[in-house]
């Protein structure tokens, strides 16, 4: 676990590799601690997507880190003091793994003992996530959606027309070149991608019984599409999943979630109370959880794809006009400031 202590390398790419390993490690740690669902999520997110996004960002910003100018002494001091205080605080904590800890005394027993009768889903995590604490989860999904919008507004480019005109001629040659370079990879991933998509669906709908659920399935689904986009070119992937469609899917997922709640309101229950969705409360719960997980899956997958496409699109745009982009945006500012100075 302490491998990460060596993250102080200068080379940012190495840092990203270490982050990936760190994600893998922490996921296995979660497995050891019996948190299957969490390990699942961490596996797909921490090791895969986050590393990719960081890489994409690094390719745009350059990988070398500048040497430090000020001394880290003060920072170290602060860190040590805070750490010392925190360790002092842990002395009052209940021992690791003890059953009598206050955390286990209040709501948890009810979830564990009654969820089978009340919700009828073997995976307690799913039942808590989608039924008991559904409103909370709705908020989380909304946050993810907002983040997607944020990335979209920060990184999306009004460059579609220009690039498509430019690329038409050069596309064929690059296509050929890429095909030769990645022959093996392409064939293998052509075999693999359907499996990955199938597996994502399995995770999505098997979440009631085993580890899994909307969040994980969404990420896996997005990973498959990212793989496609990386090997077959972004434009091709964009042709399959065009931007507005994905945005629509993201919104629909969130809306589906919220509308399940509203429907249950109309049927006379509370917001997101699925008992009233069908005649039999258990069937209603099943239906509600299924719909909600579907909504979560849609939103997460779509947002992840949006984020990746925007990063990659930005990167391609930068590469097609190498280094110009940064200076171009920099220079008007400089000119402005010099002009002002000259005027005064």
């Amino acid at each position: 676990m302490i491998a990460i202590a060596i993250v102080r390398t200068k080379d940012l790419l190495a840092v990203v590799m270490l982050t990936g390993i760190y994600g893998l490690l922490s996921a296995s740690f979660f497995v050891v601690l019996d948190a299957v669902d969490v390990a699942f999520t961490e596996a797909s997110v921490g090791a895969g997507i986050s590393g990719l996004l960081m890489l994409a960002a690094i390719t745009m910003t350059g990988r070398a880190e500048a040497p430090k100018r000020h001394k880290p002494l003060l920072a170290l001091l602060v860190v040590f003091i805070t750490g010392g205080m925190l360790i002092y605080g842990t002395l009052d904590m209940p021992y690791f793994g003890s059953f009598e800890a206050p955390v286990h005394q209040h709501v948890a027993p009810r979830y564990i003992n009654d969820s089978m009768q009340e919700v009828g889903v073997p995976n307690i995590v799913t039942s808590v996530l989608a039924s008991y604490r559904a409103f909370d989860t709705l908020g989380e999904v909304a946050v993810i959606f907002t983040a997607g919008i944020g990335v979209l507004s920060l990184l999306s480019l009004p460059r579609r027309r220009r690039s498509s005109e430019l690329d038409e001629s050069s596309e064929d040659s690059t296509e050929k070149q890429m095909h030769e370079q990645h022959m093996v990879l392409r064939i293998i991933s052509k075999i693999l991608i359907p499996f990955i998509l199938l597996f994502a669906l399995y995770v999505q709908f098997h979440g009631d019984f085993g580890p899994g659920g909307g969040f994980q399935a969404g990420v896996i689904f997005a990973a498959a599409i990212i793989l496609y986009a990386m090997l077959f070119g972004l434009d091709k992937a964009r042709r399959v999943f065009n931007q507005s469609l994905i945005q629509l899917i993201a919104a629909i997922g969130l809306l589906l979630y919220a509308s399940v709640g509203v429907v249950s309101l109309f049927n006379g229950g509370n917001f997101l109370d699925y008992n009233v969705l069908a005649d039999d409360p258990l069937a209603g719960q099943h239906l509600g959880i299924l719909l909600i997980e579907l909504g979560v899956g849609c939103t997460v997958a779509a947002v992840m794809i949006i984020i990746f496409f925007n990063f990659a699109g930005r990167r391609e745009a930068q590469q097609s006009s190498p280094e110009l982009n940064a200076t171009e945006q920099n220079s008007p500012e400089l000119i402005n400031s010099t002009e002002q100075k000259g005027g005064e």
Binding site: V15, V16, G46, A57, T61, E65, V79, L129, G148
Partner: protein, 122 residues
């Protein structure tokens, strides 16, 4: 007897590493990595609180008497995905900063800011 707390110490150690990276490094991406580490330490903290001796994963099955606490798992599960979304947002901001300043080192950005401020004020 104090060994019962070792998990929390690891958490504190990780947290402090992340914290140190965030405050001591100038590179913005490095800062985000530090933030991720900090985040993960919190996750581990929650999960280790939810763990129970001889407990099993919280999926109901025959012949299993004791389960770990499912509540922290739920909280952390969503937190991980939210965390990646916010990290992506942060990275997007970094990319934009790079584009408009030409650098992602904190000091250089500050110097540039100072320069433009000076120029506009005088």
């Amino acid at each position: 007897m104090l060994l019962g707390l070792y998990n929390y110490w690891i958490v504190v150690l990780l947290m402090m590493i992340g914290f140190y990276i965030v405050i001591a490094h100038g590179n913005l991406i490095k800062k985000l990595v530090g933030l991720t580490i900090f985040q993960t330490s919190v996750f581990i903290f929650y999960i280790s609180m939810g763990n129970v001796d001889s407990g099993s994963a919280p999926i109901l099955a025959e012949g299993v008497a004791r389960y770990s606490n499912p509540l922290p798992h739920v909280l952390i599960l969503t937190a991980i995905v939210v965390g990646i979304a916010t990290t992506a947002l942060g990275l997007a901001l970094v990319v934009r900063i790079k584009e408009s300043y030409g650098s992602i080192e904190e000091d250089e950005i500050q110097i540039q800011d100072q320069l433009t401020e000076d120029k506009t004020s005088c």
